[in-house]
Symmetry: C2
Subunit: 189 residues, 2 copies
């Protein structure tokens, strides 16, 4: 997606070897018009795929998932992060390890909002090590629903998540894949 | 907003004396079509008010703010919750006490994304004790920006926040005000 590449080249900040800050338009300040372009692009990429629901994880996935959902005309469910050890029985729970924050946390979705055989599209802002998508995949499995794919805004191609998810048979559609981030310069695959 | 009252009557769950669960359509599963009605209603309520930016707080405010922002045609900024004690100097920080969770946490907004004299509309899902709105108001003050009002989906009229904010001179537009929640029944003001 060329407009996204341009935007990253112009506005993203490379902070350290694997941190790409796009909080100018994606995950702190949100350019809602631009998110509409992103939502339309996801819709185009998954054309022909039946989607009943979009699943993401709080917080930075919510904006993208909700704007995209307008094109798919389906509800969004966002998994909640929790550090609580006592989760009631009416939730599906899995774990995500964040390498960025060096922290493992639980994510949960109420059993009310995922039904068996629903066709679920996962949407998230970044794909690096793939742990968030795998955590959401596990929740979809627990609900006996079907994951039809993962729509990712920015994949870090130099980290292993994308390869692992594709090898596990998941259809991953990344709008851009960052190949390198060196000396503050971003190149794309 | 009658459609919202109907939806609350039909789908919300009263859990305890002051917990109203609307996670079927507002803050866990998100009915994006319905949020568009909510966004339009906010736009109508604030017609004639110049809004440069919408400010909310993660996580449950994000979906509402982003859908509403499409009508105002402005960017959204969502304040991030953090328990970190070491915040860098490039953030505006304030504190929110959550009575529901019995916990005080910091919220922060990067200085990049709020400019002096910007006219900022605060949007959030619930107004109960008003602490979230006051925390966001403080961040707007620190940025030397102007708060033009607060758009709230559900105000709990039996809790003091709404009255306090209005007495402090804030224009509060709540799409519904819950008067009582007794025996599982919700009545509106």
């Amino acid at each position: 997606m060329q407009a996204l590449k341009d935007r990253i080249q112009q506005e993203a900040r490379v902070e350290g070897p694997d941190v790409l800050k796009v909080d100018n338009f994606l995950n702190h300040q949100v350019d809602v018009n631009f998110l509409n372009n992103i939502g339309q692009e996801f819709y185009k990429r998954f054309q022909g795929v039946i989607v009943d629901k979009i699943l993401t994880v709080e917080a930075s996935g919510i904006a993208i998932a909700c704007i995209a959902a307008q094109y798919f005309n389906v509800p969004v469910v966002f998994a909640k992060k929790t550090e609580s050890k006592n989760l009631d029985n009416d939730c599906y729970v899995s774990e995500i390890h964040s390498f960025t924050k060096n922290k493992t946390y639980k994510i949960m979705v109420s059993k009310r909002y995922l039904q068996p055989h629903e066709r679920v599209l996962v949407i998230d802002d970044f794909l690096a090590n793939g742990k968030a998508v795998l955590g959401l995949k596990e929740i979809i499995r627990l609900a006996d629903a079907d994951m039809v794919g993962a729509g990712i805004v920015i994949e870090k191609g130099f980290q292993p998540g994308g390869k692992e998810l594709r090898q596990a048979g998941i259809r991953v559609e990344s709008l851009v894949i960052v190949e390198t981030m060196q000396n503050g310069q971003v190149t794309f695959r």
